[in-house]
């Protein structure tokens, strides 16, 4: 049981780390702000989501698990809205390179 949970944690964390890596590469390599934002949101949603999912079995009881999930939800909310605001600003002023 413990081994299965550990395996689950390791695989979820690795998948999350992969998303972080891919998102970072996208942030550096993509040509314009909108596609860079697109790369970043994947990191926020999936990367952090997988990391939180992987940490859940090791959380400090149900309250600890709830805190982890609410961190993910808060980052989702702020990430999505900040992305919208930046994209709106880019659309208004045009991309500046």
């Amino acid at each position: 049981m413990n081994l299965a949970l550990d395996l689950f944690t390791v695989s979820a964390l690795s998948a999350g780390a992969l998303f972080f890596l891919a998102g970072t590469v996208g942030l550096i390599r993509f040509p314009d702000p909108l596609t860079r934002l697109h790369a970043l949101t994947k990191v926020d949603n999936l990367g952090l989501g997988l990391v939180v999912l992987g940490l859940l079995p090791h959380a400090n009881g149900p309250v600890g698990a709830l805190k982890l999930v609410s961190i993910w939800l808060l980052v989702q909310l702020s990430g999505a809205i900040v992305t919208q605001l930046i994209a709106g600003a880019v659309r208004e002023r045009g991309p500046r390179e």
Partner: protein, 312 residues
């Protein structure tokens, strides 16, 4: 353990690189962004050193609040930059020299310190039970170094007075000139409606939990201030004019409570800022709550900047 060691080395290199980039980037805006990243990385460093209290404060103040103040300063400078003469090489060299001097003095003090650094930590842990607190950091801040903690909050008020004194004469008691989002934006409005209820609960929780676990007045107050600023920037609520009586009361209620408890300690506990036995925790929590209010108001008004408009 080796993986953690390499992670730590990587973290140190990152901090140094970001620190260097704050100095070497050309534009002030880029330097401020690098500074915010630097603050967040430092917070991770503090976590690695098991100093969660410091990490929270660094992330909230060093990364968030200072970053916002500096961004405001950059926006002001940008309009002034065009018609001011460029700073000469001699002044730049002198500034660089003095910065390097301070840095090398600090580095020297750290590197040349005696092997066994004298510590009072065991004594603190031994006597922590008398304060009724579970968090040794809160114990040190409010029992052993209470005078420092109190003066720290007074300094915050002095800083705010400094900002307010930049106001033109006819704008005194006016409304702070915080730049709000120009067009009504449905997304920002949504965030400013959804986030504050959550943030206020988190801020109060931070303040309350500070007695036993990492957290406290500064961390909680910063979160409350951030929520207030969000509401102001999204134009859901105007910034209050600085002459409002409730605002002034909110600013001083924390330091005054602290001072009152300290003076009462002269009579009840035979020492300034001493707590009568048995009441230490209740008094400290009361001080923390009022300090949280004062810090939240002071930080919000600091970020909102000097008053600009006449009160209507």
């Amino acid at each position: 353990m080796t993986i953690l060691f390499f992670a730590d080395v990587g973290l140190v290199l990152l901090v140094l690189a970001i620190g260097a980039s704050t100095i070497f980037v050309r534009k002030a805006f880029d330097a401020v962004i690098a500074f915010v990243v630097y603050g967040l990385l430092l917070a991770i460093v503090w976590v690695r050193l098991s100093a969660i209290d410091v990490a929270l404060t660094e992330a909230a103040i060093g990364g968030g609040m200072t970053g916002m103040l500096l961004l405001g300063a950059v926006a002001r400078l940008r309009s002034a930059e065009l018609d001011s003469p460029r700073i000469g090489l001699r002044v730049r060299l002198a500034a660089g020299f003095f910065c390097a001097l301070v840095a090398s003095c600090l580095a020297g003090a750290l590197l040349l310190s005696p092997k066994a650094i004298p510590t009072l930590a065991p004594a603190v842990m031994e006597n922590l039970v008398h304060t009724g607190l579970g968090n040794p950091v809160a114990g040190v801040l409010f029992a052993y170094r209470a005078l420092d903690t109190m003066l720290e909050k007074v300094v915050l008020l002095l800083a705010l007075l400094g900002v307010w004194s930049l106001a033109p004469n006819d704008a005194w008691n006016g409304i702070p000139g915080l730049r709000v989002y120009e067009r009504p934006s449905s997304t920002l409005t949504f965030l400013a409606q959804v986030l504050p209820p959550v943030g206020i609960v988190v801020g109060i929780y931070m303040c309350w939990v500070g007695a036993n676990e990492p957290g406290g007045a500064f961390q909680g107050g910063t979160i409350l201030a951030a929520m207030w600023l969000l509401v102001i920037v999204a134009r859901l609520e105007r910034a209050p004019s600085i002459g409002q009586p409730w605002l002034r009361i909110g600013l001083v209620v924390g330091p005054i409570t602290f001072l009152a408890v300290g003076l009462a300690g002269l009579v009840l506990a035979n020492a300034f800022l001493g707590y009568p036995p048995g009441y230490a925790k209740a008094l400290i929590v009361a001080i923390e709550v009022t300090l949280t209010i004062s810090i939240a108001v002071a930080l919000t008004m600091l970020a909102a900047g000097p008053p600009k408009q006449e009160q209507q």
